[in-house]
């Protein structure tokens, strides 16, 4: 990789991929930016062919001015934060458990991973109808069995419910990455710590957890990127009601329900900005683990 020749060859080889990726990103980004400065209401007869009116920052002002904007930011951050905490904490515990030799290990591992293969729409519907339904849901039956009043999950504890569903989906990912991290730990380090007089909890705290910090960072970064844009789980359960309207969902409503492309595009630009703020923030906190 070091010679002039091999470096320019490498550049040539990578060029198609880089160009494709750039186009992939730049075309939608440019279109979003373009529309966000235009009045574009297809139902009122606006169309690209007839030319769109330039409205300056009006869409941006209106998007932020809407009473749904700040609650949607808050809902987004609560969901992302909640899911991250749950998946990382449970992921670490599950990974520790799966790392122990046990009977039926292969099957258990496949079971643990399987939620990841269920499509978001399907898992949203399964949770909504099978578990959380206040009359026929399994959870309702369980509550009744113990003589308690069933919870109306999706209306009374809507955010918590969404967090639960999404966590269930992402827990396998976290577990898998953290499990490989635990397995890469040199067992002699643990034995050395044991001889040094560190009991189980301290071995976890001083040896295993620092060893996993890099993997935890990766889990947090990747999940944040995907969680900021969750949509299907909300669409099929609460449809954005009961305080579960995230920024993504708000944009969807502006574009498709209100048929206001310009306003939605301005929201999209805010979403990009939010994602970048969160990313920079996270990189700052955990970035020192990624050297």
């Amino acid at each position: 990789m070091a010679t002039q020749h091999s470096r320019s060859a490498a550049r040539m080889m990578m060029a198609p991929a880089v160009i494709l990726l750039l186009g992939w990103m730049l075309v939608p980004l440019t279109m979003t930016l373009f529309f966000s400065f235009k009045k574009y209401l297809p139902l009122r007869g606006d169309s690209v062919a007839n030319g769109l009116d330039w409205v300056g920052f009006e869409n941006y002002v209106r998007f932020v001015g809407s009473s749904s904007f700040w609650p949607s930011i808050q809902a987004t951050l609560v969901i992302v934060g909640g899911v991250l905490v749950i998946t990382v904490v449970l992921g670490i515990l599950l990974a520790l458990l799966l790392d122990r030799p046990m009977w039926g290990q292969g099957i258990v591992r496949i079971l643990v991973i399987s939620p990841f293969f269920v499509m978001p729409t399907v898992s949203g519907l399964v949770w909504k109808n099978m578990f959380m339904d206040p009359i026929n849901g399994l959870l309702a039956h369980l509550y009744k069995f113990f003589g308690a009043e069933p919870v109306q999950w999706l209306s009374q504890a809507s955010l918590e419910s969404i967090i639960m569903i999404v966590s269930w989906q992402w827990l396998p990912f976290a577990t898998l990455i953290l499990l490989t991290a635990i397995q890469s730990l040199d067992s002699e380090q643990l034995e050395a710590a044991e001889m040094d007089g560190a009991p189980v909890i301290k071995r976890f705290w001083h040896i295993i957890l620092p060893h996993m910090s890099r993997a935890i960072t990766v889990v947090i970064l990747i999940q944040t990127i995907f969680l900021l844009s969750i949509f299907a789980e909300i669409f099929v359960t609460t449809a954005g009601a009961f305080g579960t309207k995230t920024l993504t969902y708000l944009i969807f409503q502006r574009v498709l329900e209100s048929q206001n492309v310009g306003l939605g595009s301005a929201g999209g630009v805010y979403a990009i900005i939010l994602a970048n703020i969160v990313a920079i923030f996270l990189m700052r906190i955990v970035g020192k683990n990624l050297d």
Binding site: D186, E188, A192, E194, M195, D196, A198, P199, K202, S213
Partner: protein, 335 residues
């Protein structure tokens, strides 16, 4: 204090008996080396003493106290691992301080002991580096530092030098010997390298397939190997073994003679052969001699200036007082 007594200690992994019941006493302050070929159970034996493996049967006493059911941390031993097993996210200072923090010593005491250990091991400059920024020899010293700060009853080393290059290995060998002289603490040192065993040990324990073949000082093992295995394992280059007529003439199944106990001459000798490969070390030359009519190739050591060339005829005379005789069981005969 650190006398270690193993009594009928046995270890099985499932059905495989890696260590058949074995007795061994290691005296306080002794430098004991477990030596044997790879896979003979040296590490397993060390880990049994450390408490990292449970004994299948038998007892281990440290300072007269039964310890075979105690966890490793309660045995008062410190171990240096082959991979060093340093904590990569901690600085050298924190690595060395770790056992002291776990023992909940106060900070002043910890600082004091870490500084002392760093001083002894020439690590003072590196205290704020991470293990990843150190060379192999320095990492080795950190691992030793982490062991000595605890002031253990005994040190356990599992092939600590096998990841170092030859020159460093010689240096570290001396350092560990020095350390033993200074601390006068019991040390158990595992190696497959008989040179390390010979140069460092007060007492060598030769292991073969989990069985103790012989226990003794380096020179005892060199002079009076109890059997064929020990004779072949101790000494470098290996002892020459001759069976057949030459052996039965001496009423033995096999006779052994070390390369350094054979005289070479151009004119006359008991045996004759043809020089094959010669290895010139400067101080010594090792000749590999073929066609002696004694079976295998013989290795002989001669003075560095002795000049035989490939294909030359050579005459050999073994020193009769240095011939070892073994019976058909491989056991030593006589004396």
């Amino acid at each position: 204090m650190g006398q270690i007594v193993l009594n009928q200690v046995q270890k099985k992994f499932g059905d495989v008996e890696v260590i058949p019941p074995l007795d061994l006493t290691i005296e306080d302050g002794e430098f004991t080396v477990f030596v044997g070929p790879s896979g003979c159970g040296k590490s397993t034996l060390l880990r049994l003493i450390a408490g990292l493996e449970d004994v299948t049967a038998g007892s281990i006493q440290i300072d007269g106290k039964e310890t075979s059911n105690l966890p490793p941390a309660k045995r008062g031993l410190a171990m240096v691992f082959q991979s060093y097993a340093l904590y990569p996210h901690m600085t050298v200072r924190k690595n060395i301080a770790f056992p002291l923090r776990m023992a909940k010593l106060d900070q002043a005491e910890i600082d004091q002991r870490v500084a002392n250990a760093a001083e002894v091991l020439n690590l003072t400059e590196y205290l704020d580096r991470r293990p990843g920024q150190l060379s192999g020899g320095q990492r080795q010293r950190v691992a030793i530092g982490r062991a000595i700060v605890r002031e253990p009853a005994a040190f356990l080393f599992d092939e600590p030098l096998s990841n170092l290059d030859a020159a460093l290995r010689v240096g570290m060998r001396l350092e560990i010997s020095e350390l033993h002289k200074r601390l006068a603490t019991t040390m158990i040192y595992v190696t497959h390298d008989q040179v390390e065993a010979m140069t460092m040990a007060d007492k060598i324990v030769v292991l073969n397939a989990g069985v103790i073949e012989q226990v003794g000082s380096p020179l005892e093992l060199y002079r009076n190997p109890r059997n064929h295995f020990v004779a072949g394992f101790i000494g470098s280059p290996k002892m020459n073994f001759i069976s057949g007529e030459a052996a039965s003439d001496m009423n033995a199944h096999t006779i052994g003679i070390r390369p350094e106990h054979i005289e070479v001459s151009e004119s006359a000798g008991e045996w004759t052969g043809v020089v094959g490969v010669s290895e010139h070390l400067g101080s010594d030359t090792f000749f590999h001699i073929h066609d002696t009519g004694l079976g295998d190739t013989l290795t002989v050591r001669a003075d560095g200036e002795v000049g035989f060339k490939h294909g030359d005829k050579i005459n050999l005379t073994p020193r009769t007082d240095m011939i070892h005789k073994f019976d058909d069981q491989g056991l030593r005969i006589g004396e």
